[in-house]
């Protein structure tokens, strides 16, 4: 681990040096900082506007699935691990935190730590068994493990409530020294909590993707054998990424349980795993913003379609196929397409 970390730094230095060779390193970096500052302000602004534009619970749900989709994108977009079993970790974290919250322990840090820990543990167990299998095989294994977790939760009625879901989940309370205790029964406050966790996740994941760890993961996605032959512990790093994604998914699951005060068994079904992959793909996997946009569009469309027609999954299926055919890079790809069109149009005018 340590050696590979060092090597990662070397890799980053090499990249930076090559940037300096091109002669614009300093300006590029300050430009980058300004850009990321602008992006940060834009993101905070969007988080403030979102609850005004949509019903507050839908807005919260978008943030929760945004967290879930970003975690999944660490695997799909960065590491190239096509997991079809992420709902298992979302559900494991959600059920664990929900159980704690439904049985009288309402401390927020406790609930989040339980969700994070259980999500990560289950992901570690699944990851150890499946990470060395490649490609299609990996996908089918994660899918099968997802089903295993589903059946365990489905059959373990005394703890999980079986097919009725886990009911009676209380919103947590945050005890701060000297300040007092914060309850989250108010939906606006709960949105605030989700927004804070969303921002924290986004910052952490963006930093992770750009860190030596993330760069080695990306390298292994592009050419796994070569990365291994350069001396990186690819399997170990992939497992670490898998556990991190599982832990974050667990937190998203916990928030979902708190939001609706129930953890439905459907949230663990493999279809939920497929939905989060949808979110990543229809948004665009090249940045962390893509999955968030994907989650927002997905949740919004789901609400819209389900109002229009009882057979709404049909519309969803059509939408996904059309997006895949016409916008293979996702909705973020659409923005860059549009901006390149407008640039060309301007170029023609001047």
């Amino acid at each position: 681990m340590r050696t590979s970390g060092d090597n990662g730094t070397v890799l980053v230095k090499n990249l930076e040096q090559s940037a300096e060779v091109h002669g614009k390193a300093v300006t590029a970096r300050s430009g980058l900082q300004v850009a990321s500052l602008v992006q940060g302000i834009g993101m905070v602004g969007a988080l403030l506007i979102l609850p005004l534009a949509l019903p507050i619970n839908i807005a919260t749900e978008i943030l929760i699935f945004g967290i879930f989709a970003m975690a999944t994108n660490l695997l799909i977009g960065t590491a190239g691990l096509y997991s079809f079993g992420q709902a298992a970790f979302f559900g494991a974290g959600g059920y664990a935190a929900g159980y704690v919250l439904a049985h009288g322990w309402t401390s927020l840090p406790l609930a989040l730590m339980v969700a994070c820990g259980i999500g990560g543990l289950v992901a570690a167990a699944v990851g150890i068994l499946s990470i060395r299998r490649l490609g299609v095989y990996f996908m089918m294994l994660t899918f099968a493990f997802n089903q295993l977790v589903y059946y365990i939760i489905y059959s373990w009625r005394s703890v999980t409530g079986g097919e009725d879901g886990l009911v009676g989940i209380q919103r947590p309370i945050l005890e701060l020294p000297f300040v007092g205790s914060f309850g989250f029964d108010d939906n606006k406050r709960f949105y605030g909590l989700a927004a804070v966790l969303f921002l924290a996740t986004m910052i952490a994941l963006v930093r992770m993707v750009n860190s030596p760890f993330g760069i080695v993961l990306a390298a292994s996605r592009q050419n796994s054998r070569r990365t291994i032959s350069l001396g990186y512990q690819v399997a170990t790093l992939q497992l670490v990424a898998f556990v991190i994604a599982g832990a974050i998914s667990g937190v998203a699951g916990a928030l979902f349980g708190m939001l609706y005060r129930i953890m439905p068994v459907d949230s663990v079904h493999w279809a939920a795993s497929a939905y989060v992959v949808f979110m990543v793909i229809i948004g665009g996997q090249k940045s962390m913003l893509g999955p968030v946009i994907g989650a927002a569009v997905f949740i919004w469309l789901q609400g819209l379609f389900s109002l229009v027609w009882i057979r709404w999954p049909l519309l969803l299926g059509l939408f996904v196929i059309l997006i895949m055919i016409y916008l293979p890079d996702g909705l973020v790809g659409l923005f860059s397409k549009v901006s390149s069109w407008t640039a060309r149009w301007r170029g023609q005018r001047s």
Partner: protein, 286 residues
């Protein structure tokens, strides 16, 4: 007790043969197109519904099975042309997504066409009742389903191992580029493989109809089991899935005696156990 166990055993073999049909289809598609067919469960459900409709308008059950095979085969062709081909150049993730989208569409179409209430169907008169074997009874339909599946699997084996089409299929699985270079139309071959694989799923659905009825959600559960069977049998082994399918069916049926609630979870546990000792599956290559 012996009576119960042997009854569950024959039951398990019949269900296992249906799993084997499903997984053989999945295995052919996986081999040729290198994608796990996420619409396989929906095709299975489609087969059950088509078989129900054809049989309930007075046609013989055998015609129902044939119709299930042909209809899902055509659906497989449609999937190939509309969902797989248009996104083909970008790796297999987009294809999975479109196949999953197609599965959603098929399941909803089943609900629109046949309603939300599950359908049940009893086998034709000649297949009702049971043979008394002394130590146990063997329901006639169970015997029929096992023998029929075995015949279909043998026919597919003959088709793939003993015919020119089969030789192309094997070549396409082994070395797609070389096959193309030899002047064989691989595109056509892939469509053929998709149709055959999808048709087998539909046939499995038709065969399962008298046993489990037809519901729109039957596909999702079956898809999970078919994946488990494929993983246990080992990817890259076309016929490993047949043995694994029967084994999974038998294990699942026997477990319903001991722990009915956990009988489905147990096959996943079996899968984990096998993966720990043989990561490539029972018959897979490393």
């Amino acid at each position: 007790m012996l009576w119960l166990i042997s009854a569950q055993l024959v039951n398990g073999i019949a269900i296992g043969m249906i799993y084997a049909l499903m997984s053989l289809g999945l295995s052919i598609i996986k081999g040729l197109l290198n994608i796990p067919n996420f619409a396989h469960g929906a095709l299975y459900a489609l087969g059950a519904y088509v078989c129900y409709s054809v049989s309930s308008v007075g046609m013989p059950f055998a015609v129902g099975l044939l119709a299930a095979f042909l209809a899902t085969g055509l659906a497989g062709l449609a999937l190939d042309r509309l969902a797989i081909r248009p996104v083909g150049e970008n790796g297999y993730l987009p294809q999975l997504i479109t196949l999953f989208g197609a599965a959603l569409i098929i399941e909803q179409l089943l609900l629109i066409g046949w309603g939300t209430v599950g359908l049940s169907y009893s086998p034709p008169l000649i297949l009702r009742g049971a043979f008394d074997l002394g130590f146990t009874v063997l329901p006639k339909y169970i015997a029929f389903a096992s023998i029929f599946s075995a015949l279909v699997i043998s026919a597919v084996w003959l088709l793939i191992e003993r015919t020119k089409f089969g030789a192309y299929v094997r070549a396409g699985i082994e070395r797609p580029d070389t096959t193309q270079a030899l002047g064989i139309d691989v595109d056509l071959l892939l469509s053929g493989g998709m149709m055959l694989g999808a048709g087998l799923a539909g046939l499995a659905g038709g065969l399962a109809l008298p046993l489990v009825g037809a519901t729109s959600t039957m596909g999702g559960d079956m898809l999970g089991i078919a994946f488990v069977v494929l993983v246990i049998g080992g990817l890259g082994s076309l016929y490993g899935s047949v043995a694994a399918g029967v084994a999974v069916g038998v294990v699942q049926s026997l477990m319903t005696i001991a722990a009915p609630a956990a009988s489905t979870a147990i096959i996943y546990a079996v899968m984990i156990g096998i993966l720990l000792f043989r990561p490539q599956g029972l018959f897979g290559e490393r």
